[in-house]
Symmetry: C2
């Protein structure tokens, strides 16, 4: 078991130059059928695989994409979005012979450092998720010269192509559904408003209420954790004039909220209607099954990866618009008592 064979070993065995081997490996024209087959034979015999590191240096292509997640471990633990999202990305990039560099960072400083790192020979491009308001990343990435694709559009003038999924239409449908059932006091438990998607959901909820001529409902900002969802629910339930329905910005918070209600002897959906967001794995198997809004994280991952790959290939990439999040009616909603 000797060391790994190099392109020179292959060239020697096939009786040709390194150049020609490289041509064959990269499907470039101008190689005779005879030479090609001898080279392929040698590649096979030696089990040769080109070194990624060498290729990265000479071609300035790492064949890797980067993904930086700035999250507290707590918020990540039960996140229903990233696993399928990453699976979708992988599905697209694996056949393209690319891989994913993943970075989890605790704060904005480390985040900046991580992107800088990635831009120096670790990744060819990045997918930017969890867009925040006044997100500094598009500017940073432009300065680093690191190609990027963003999930939704951070700002009208963001230079990176955006892969957009309207995740608020489902929220509107959900609120309309609650209103149609007769609810008038519909509260919202949101995520940290620094995240654009959390803010959008809150806005959509407020606007839909307003459009129906209802008074604005109670709003509590939470943090996407189960504990936060339970706390927010307790606050709403214990307040004066408690809501008859609560719309949550995530299934996890909704589930914790349901338990919190149960604990008070409040029945769902009889006494309180609950709507989640995400359609996470467990939601359909809850008792009662959770009415929610579904976003296709896997498909979003695929679309983002596809867009980034074309962008890296030098093609002009227009914003992509995916089909909107859909409202999933199950059994956690009913007319108010």
């Amino acid at each position: 078991m000797s060391a790994k064979p190099t392109i020179s070993d292959v060239a020697a065995r096939a009786g040709v130059s390194k150049t020609l081997v490289s041509f064959v490996l990269n499907d470039r024209p101008g190689v005779s059928a005879d030479a090609r087959s001898r080279i392929l034979q040698a590649v096979d015999d030696l089990e040769f695989r080109p070194s990624r590191a060498a290729r990265a240096l000479s071609s300035s292509k790492t064949s890797a994409l980067g993904l930086v997640l700035a999250r507290q471990p707590e918020m990540l633990r039960a996140d229903p979005f990233f696993p399928p999202f990453i699976a979708g990305v992988e599905k697209v990039i694996a056949p393209a012979d690319m891989a994913l560099m993943l970075r989890f960072v605790p704060d904005a400083v480390a985040e900046r450092a991580a992107y800088t790192e990635l831009s120096h020979g670790r990744a060819d491009g990045v997918i930017v998720t969890d867009i925040r308001s006044d997100d500094p990343r598009p500017e940073l990435l432009a300065r680093l010269g690191l190609p990027a694709v963003t999930l939704n559009r951070p700002a009208p003038d963001s230079p990176a192509p955006a892969v957009c999924l309207d995740d608020t239409q489902g929220v509107r449908e959900a609120v309309d559904h609650l209103i149609a059932l007769g609810h008038r006091r519909i509260a919202h438990v949101g995520g940290p408003t620094e995240y654009l998607h959390a803010d959008h959901r809150r806005r959509q909820w407020a606007e839909t209420m307003a459009a129906a001529g209802l008074p604005s409902g109670s709003y509590v900002e939470a943090d996407f954790t189960a504990a936060g969802g339970a706390r927010a629910t307790a606050q709403l339930l214990d307040g004066a004039d408690p809501p008859t329905a609560i719309l949550y910005a995530s299934d996890l918070m909704a589930m914790a909220g349901m338990a919190e209600a149960h604990r008070r002897g409040i029945r769902i959906p009889d006494d309180l209607s609950v709507v989640g967001f995400d359609d996470s794995e467990l939601s359909a198997h809850l008792h009662p099954p959770l009415t929610t809004v579904r976003t296709d994280a896997f498909g979003w991952g695929q679309a983002a990866a596809t867009a980034l790959l074309s962008y890296l290939a030098g093609q002009h990439v227009a914003d992509v618009e995916l089909s909107a999040a859909v409202f999933v009616l199950r059994e956690s909603t009913a007319p108010p008592p």
Copy 2:
């Protein structure tokens, strides 16, 4: 806004050779204080960062670790283990200036290809998780010359250091707890037995029952998904002589099982006791809060990364033994009706 500066640019600006810059960058002795400060100044002025790709080639070190996950997207969606595990790994490797290459693969063939890929200039070492029975990976990795650390020991003679966490002691405590409450018919809903950890949990359950002189309980193999957990629970509950307690190999299955029981009007814990496994985010916030077994995935990630880093540094690494999974008593268990 020119191209990225190289080490030669730094050398030129500081009036020294590339070699000396390299020495300073790598903290090697034999550089005068004067030269060192001039070089650091130049590095600063130019915002120079060494190219990972170049460094990888010349030093044969990629500064990256690999992690290959062979899972169906479905099984990954609500997995409570990997997010904190990866966060633990990151916590350790980030300060060591390393990064994580993540690969999700659909099957064993792709898995093999992924490891092969990683060994050719993409990663310096890998962490092997989800050990299966007769796992082919230790042998493959040895053949590829790719340093590895395994989570638990696949076989007594596996060449890679193992980072072990006894996740069955908590299961024994859980079963003992149920027995002490008076349960005699304790069923188990397990994970796919090809996974060693799933198999271990099943064994521990069976052995603890036997040790207490109880007849062996019903066993249903499921797949770690919510749907699977619900199905298995239905099967147990609808069978002849249904159990008074069910031990699940994951919280997700336990939660789906609880809902399935509720649907039949079976109250928890009054009519049926339920124990999960993982202590996932939601478990403490369920109604009733789920009694479960907690494994410290974050700590496991840290330990595995630490072990791999020392191993890569050429140190001899003995197997690491972490503190065992602990039984977490909450409110989903009670004496049988």
